[in-house]
């Protein structure tokens, strides 16, 4: 039959035959395209429980699939495959394989909270996106995303010294993610910055790159946070069956 909604179906789920005869009737041409029959058998009904045990995922069970999150979503407007409502559906149904197809998209949530603003059920979809991205990494479905690498660089600096410094985070992140510092836009940006900043300020920034500013007496607070963070990391790993220890965050690194 001719399928009018073809654009909604993934190419691999369609089958088209140039010459096809069914029961003696030639159905070549428009009538030769079929949607493949599929039976899902590989449910993983634990996904919802695992994701709701991670920070941000707590309220996923409240979702009634209205679609307001996807409708309001900043990233969805740039890429319609970024679909929070659909992912929540897959998680609650246990369609792991289908969710894993989008493993390298989920982390792109920019935390704008438009979804949280729009959601009528207090699901906090922004949190669900973070928990899902975290779950995909802990489960070993994907490597640590650039966003996770950035969060880890930033947080470990805060845990160590109580503060962050833009320059140090930038350098640390580029090192962690193996990127070159010599990006054309960055060169233009830094040139323009140097032009305008007062000399004393530049000196101070250079100085603080060597001697990191820190919150006075931060030691005990930093140690307490690291200890707590480690406990949480172990808890999260334990919540995900077959979790990969290398996906955990080591706050001391």
């Amino acid at each position: 039959m001719p399928i009018h909604e073809k654009h909604l179906i993934r190419p691999e789920n369609l089958s088209t035959h140039d010459n096809l005869v069914i029961d003696g009737v030639d159905v070549s041409g428009d009538w030769s395209t079929f949607i493949k029959a599929r039976v899902v058998t590989d449910y993983n009904e634990q996904i919802e429980e695992e994701i709701s045990a991670l920070p941000g995922g707590e309220f996923i069970h409240r979702c009634w699939q209205c679609g307001s999150c996807t409708n309001s979503c900043t990233v969805n407007a740039l890429n319609s495959d970024f679909n929070p409502r659909y992912w929540i559906y897959l998680i609650r149904m246990g369609f792991e394989a289908e969710l894993v197809r989008d493993k390298d998209l989920v982390w792109q949530c920019v935390s704008c909270n438009k979804c949280t603003y729009a959601c009528p059920r207090d699901v906090f979809p922004e949190g669900v996106m973070k928990a899902t991205a975290h779950w995909l990494e802990l489960k070993g479905h994907t490597v640590k995303s650039p966003s996770t690498q950035f969060d880890e660089e930033f947080s470990s600096q805060v845990f160590r010294t109580g503060k962050i410094e833009d320059g140090r985070v930038l350098l640390g992140f580029f090192r962690r993610s193996g990127q070159s510092l010599f990006q054309p836009w960055l060169v233009v940006m830094i040139k323009k910055m140097i032009r305008g900043l007062p000399l004393v300020w530049l000196t101070k920034m250079g100085w603080s790159a060597l001697f990191h500013p820190r919150t006075r007496g931060w030691g005990p607070a930093g140690a307490a946070i690291q200890e707590y963070a480690r406990e949480q990391e172990h808890k999260h790993l334990a919540a995900v069956r077959g979790g990969h220890p290398e996906a955990m965050f080591d706050p001391a690194k």
Binding site: P55, G56, T74, V75, L78, Q108, V110, S111, C112, N113, K114, T116, Y117, F124, E126, K130, S145, P146, S147, T148, Q149, F150, D151, F154, S155, V158, G162, K163, I164, E165, D166, G167, L170, F173, F174, S177, P184, W185, M189, K192, M193, G196, L197, P198, W201, M205, P213, T215, R216, G217, W218, P220, A221, A223, A224, I225, Y228, A229, Q232, F249
Partner: protein
């Protein structure tokens, strides 16, 4: 105490960004406060609010980090109001306040970390956290501000950009959407009001609370560039000469991705980016240097000159 009196002298929490790329925001906020006779006392020995990044690692650690700042302001300095000009800091202190008032688990973790760190645990309700916009709007107001203007902004066309963290999610801002005089979470207007009082003409700008992609400004730079390009183009199409900002992350994001949109995508825009405190400072008679205008990557001095401002 009414807000006008309560906001005359407040605890000031600049946060990490204002000591780095947001230096001009720090400088202009302090200068405008001084000019208006408002007093800022910096929170002693403050720490990072936790930002988006620590929240992603563990939201309760972020709550603790923000609570420490509020605890120092309240218990060591005796303040009842903390003013944070950075949307991220402002948002996080508000979020910590909400979590500590509503979530037992957050209270327990904050208590544990505070006692190990050796300071008084912050109790919800000890301070009120406000943004620099609330501060000027409520301590001074449009009428008084207009009366103090020395250099009118002469009809300079401004697109007011508030970003995400100032209004979303709604539940951490109970004072917004609460009747006359309050800020709106869907169509914020405090910055519009102040800049109009200083003589600017606010353009009809649809992307006031759009996202600049600040969370992934480096980790997913192409997405951020596309989001920022939308904002810049929409502002230009609305006729804006300047985009006014009230957050160091948004501000730096707009400046950085304006460059990146041109180098990486060939999208060129000319609209300038300035902190609202820089614009107010100039209107109040401060020199461009005093408000750090020369530090902006997007250099708007010519745009002001063209309108004979200052």
């Amino acid at each position: 105490m009414d807000k006008k009196t309560a906001y005359k002298k407040v605890a000031y929490y600049p946060g990490c960004a204002l000591e780095g790329t947001g230096h001009a925001y720090n400088k202009s906020t302090r200068a405008v406060g001084k000019k208006l006779g408002l007093e800022l006392e910096e929170v002693k020995n403050w720490n990072c609010c936790g930002a988006m990044e620590v929240k992603n690692i563990d939201p309760k650690i972020q709550t603790y980090l923000s609570s420490r700042v509020m605890s120092i302001a309240a218990n060591e300095m005796g303040h009842s109001v903390v003013m944070a000009p950075c949307n991220g800091c402002y948002h996080n202190l508000k979020k910590a306040e909400y979590d500590l008032a509503h979530d037992e688990g957050s209270r327990e973790v904050t208590e544990r970390l505070s006692s190990k760190a050796g300071h008084t645990t912050y109790e919800a309700g000890q301070v009120e956290t406000i943004h620099a916009l609330d501060w000027i709007k409520d301590a001074i107001g449009e009428e008084e501000l207009a009366a103090r203007v020395k250099n009118s902004l002469n009809g300079l066309k401004i697109a007011n950009y508030y970003g995400c963290m100032y209004t979303r999610p709604r539940h951490i801002f109970p004072e917004k959407d609460s009747g006359p005089g309050s800020e709106s979470t869907s169509a914020p207007h405090f910055m519009d009001d102040l800049l109009a009082a200083a003589g600017a003409e606010n353009v009809d700008f649809a992307l006031k609370t759009a996202c600049c992609g600040g969370a992934h400004t480096l980790s997913d730079a192409d997405t951020s560039t596309k989001l920022v390009a939308n904002i810049l183009i929409a502002a230009e199409e609305a006729g804006a000469e300047v985009i006014a900002t009230e957050c160091p992350t948004c501000h730096t994001g707009l400046e950085m991705h304006q460059i990146r949109a041109e180098t990486n995508f060939g999208i060129k825009t000319n609209v300038k980016v300035m902190y609202f405190t820089q614009l107010l400072g100039i209107a109040l008679g401060l020199s461009p240097r005093k408000v750090g205008l020369q530090e902006n990557v997007s250099d708007g001095r010519a745009a002001l000159k063209a309108r004979q401002i200052g």
